[in-house]
Amino acid sequence: MSDRPRVYRTEGLILRRRNLGEADSVFTVLTANGAKLDAVARGIRRARSRMRGHLEPLTRSQLLLARGRTLDVFTQAQTLHAYRGLREDLERSALAIYCAELADRFAVEQAEQPGLYPLLLAVFDTLEAGAPAQVLRWFELQILSLAGYDLQLDACALCSARLPPAETLLAASAGGLVCAGCRAAAGAGRLLGVPAIKVLRFARGASLADFASLRVGDDLGQQLEGALGDVLRYHLERDLLTSRYLAAVTRLSREAPPTASPDVE
């Protein structure tokens, strides 16, 4: 038997929920120390459950848990911040759900990653305040860096040669930009123009607020989204489930932009 306390308290952000049995749900939580936690909430799907609203995905909550044999069990939950500004807006909730999946994929159970929790909260706060979709690129670069997959953007990732200011290949397997001479050895990648490279270099060092106020056009935004998407897919070895939904919402909001006076009452 371990000497860890039977009941413990932690702050966390609810990333996802899946149903278990008749009335229980399992929640994945990113805890304040950056570790991931799966725990079960008994009876939470009944209307009279006291914890129901406090464990909705995208909620920051104070949690009390009891150690269980396989999964820990929530005994109390209290909302700290419900992110209403995210969940009540179609576009912003889609962006936040994407970030939550990314955090879920990079977080590891019982392995602390001190920077991860503040990083996700910062993006959620900024999105809730109405920041543009490009902050996702900042988040992707930062989370890659936290995980040890920092992109080499200043010199060739393979031979360290200086990169001339011209169209350059970003190759995920090489770990960054690759000079013309190394292109054949670098594997699959995407050619990036000078503006895209400049934005990536800026995003790596910039604060979230500075990056959010940068003007990025639609074409450039799509180029960056595709390039970083390749890098994430390479490291995660899978597609992100939420990116398809995010694309559907983005398409819809181009075709039918939000009306000035919403009549969802």
Partner: protein
């Protein structure tokens, strides 16, 4: 994986495995059910088998509202006393029974799910196209979104609202607030804030 001890006759093993695949049935319950069937009168077992076969053969989705029905279109869609101008959108067929208990007399549309991006369920996995088709064709004035008040249910409601945007149809959402018998002390902030916003004169 075999759920029965070695030496169990093959038909029983097959039945145990079939029961085990049902939701909420573990290996022990599956064994118990299988041996119960073995002891049951032949006629009763025939009835059970026929009921299972019928439900797959005779139940279809209504071509209008996607509700489960034996006759297409379903009873809700053909009932002329119901108001065709008001359509209540629900997640599952069972939700219709809950709404019916309130005395609602409009029509329905069943999505068979909600947007759940984290599990890979997107707009194309729901019966949304049929809903938009109905809104374009018929004289629908109002769509009531009766999806659950969860992140997924809210996202679905907002998505439908946006789809209906160019169609000049009023999209409404079930009110959110405190359930009867609730405890203010344990109520979450969003519910309480919504309840305050939606307060009414007594």
């Amino acid at each position: 994986m075999r759920d029965a001890p070695a030496g169990t006759p093959e038909p029983i093993v097959r039945l145990i495995e079939a029961f085990h695949r049902l939701p909420g049935v573990g290996p022990k319950s599956a064994q118990r059910l299988a041996y119960h069937i073995l002891r049951t009168a032949p006629q009763e077992v025939e009835n059970l088998a026929a009921a299972i076969r019928d439900v797959k053969q005779r139940i279809v989705l209504c071509s209008v509202c996607r509700n489960i029905t034996e006759n297409d279109p379903c009873a809700y869609c053909t009932d002329t006393r119901r108001d065709p101008a008001v359509v209540c959108v629900v997640e599952q067929p069972l939700d219709i029974l809950a709404i019916e208990r309130t005395g609602f007399r409009g029509r329905y549309h069943v999505l068979h799910g909600v947007l759940n991006p984290m599990e890979g369920v997107g707009p194309e996995d729901l019966h949304l196209r049929e809903l938009v088709g109905r809104l374009q064709a018929a004289e629908v004035r109002e769509v009531i979104m009766a999806t659950n008040p969860s992140l997924e249910g809210e996202a679905t409601a907002m998505y439908v609202h946006r789809l209906a945007g160019p169609l000049s149809v009023r999209v409404t959402r079930l009110a959110r607030g405190l359930p009867s018998g609730a405890d203010l002390e344990y109520t979450d902030d969003v519910t309480l804030a919504r309840a305050l916003e939606g307060r009414q004169d007594i």
